[in-house]
């Protein structure tokens, strides 16, 4: 550990008066304590290094501009600066969460814009319109059940009551409606893109 018995206040005064060597002594005297303090908060070597550097840049600027007025309390002042920079770091990292893409993980696989972009919206509208045209090709009983189930969100019990057929018949018509829709799609080689 670096030992220098000159008081911080003396070193600070001497640095302000132009002795660059005093700054070197101040940095070497307090680097370990400050570094450990920052690391204990951020738990990352690179960030610790950055915060350490930014702290002393601020210290240097403040001293050179003659804005330092906490004589005798140099280290607590430096720690306070680094504490504020650590808070800034966490604020920034909360705003901008960063992920690294790897072969196994692609950030775009888990994030998406909830709203559709214009192109996707046009495609979706086209697909829905095509499906409606295909439904028109179905026999009327099957079409009726499918429309009630899919577009009106009715239960098979409600469909049964509305159409006057049993639930089983309604289920059967729905099943055939889907089978026939698939057939129409395959026979006409229709591609529905989502």
């Amino acid at each position: 550990m670096y030992k220098n018995l000159t008081p911080d206040s003396t070193l600070v005064t001497s640095y302000i008066q132009g002795c660059e060597a005093s700054l070197e002594i101040l940095i070497k005297k307090h680097k370990q304590r400050l570094y450990s303090f920052i690391y204990s908060k951020v738990q990352d070597r690179e960030i610790t290094e950055d915060v350490f550097q930014d702290t002393f840049i601020k210290v240097i600027r403040t001293l050179k501009l003659g804005n330092y007025n906490e004589q005798g309390k140099f280290l607590p002042w430096v720690m306070r600066i680094s504490h504020n920079l650590i808070i800034d770091h966490f604020r920034k990292s909360n705003r901008m969460r960063s992920f690294k893409n790897t072969a196994d993980f692609d950030i775009f696989s888990v994030i998406s814009d909830g709203s559709l972009n214009a192109e996707k919206q046009i495609i979706k509208d086209q697909v829905l319109s095509d499906v409606k045209d295909l439904i028109e090709e179905l026999p009327s009983e099957q079409k009726e059940v499918l429309v009630m189930r899919i577009y009106k969100d009715m239960s098979f019990k409600e469909i049964s009551e509305n159409t006057g057929v049993s639930i089983n018949t309604a289920l059967g018509r729905m099943r055939y409606a889907l089978i026939n829709l698939r057939k129409i799609i395959e026979e006409n080689k229709i591609i529905l893109l989502d």
């Binding site: 660059e20 070197e24 940095i27 680097k31 570094y35 690391y39 240097i60 050179k64 003659g66």
Partner: protein, 47 residues
């Protein structure tokens, strides 16, 4: 004698890189503050 306590973690002993310290020393040397006629202080980086 059996060691009862492990050595203190090396993490707490860690320090900034030498380059970081050197960068700060150089930064300080290259930075000078001048006062304008209207008494405004300006930082000059003389790199």
């Amino acid at each position: 004698m059996k060691q009862l306590y492990s050595k203190k973690s090396s993490e707490s002993q860690e320090q900034p890189k030498k380059e970081t310290v050197q960068y700060l020393i150089n930064f300080s040397k290259s930075l000078s503050v001048v006062k304008t006629i209207s008494n405004i202080k300006i930082e000059l980086n003389l790199n």
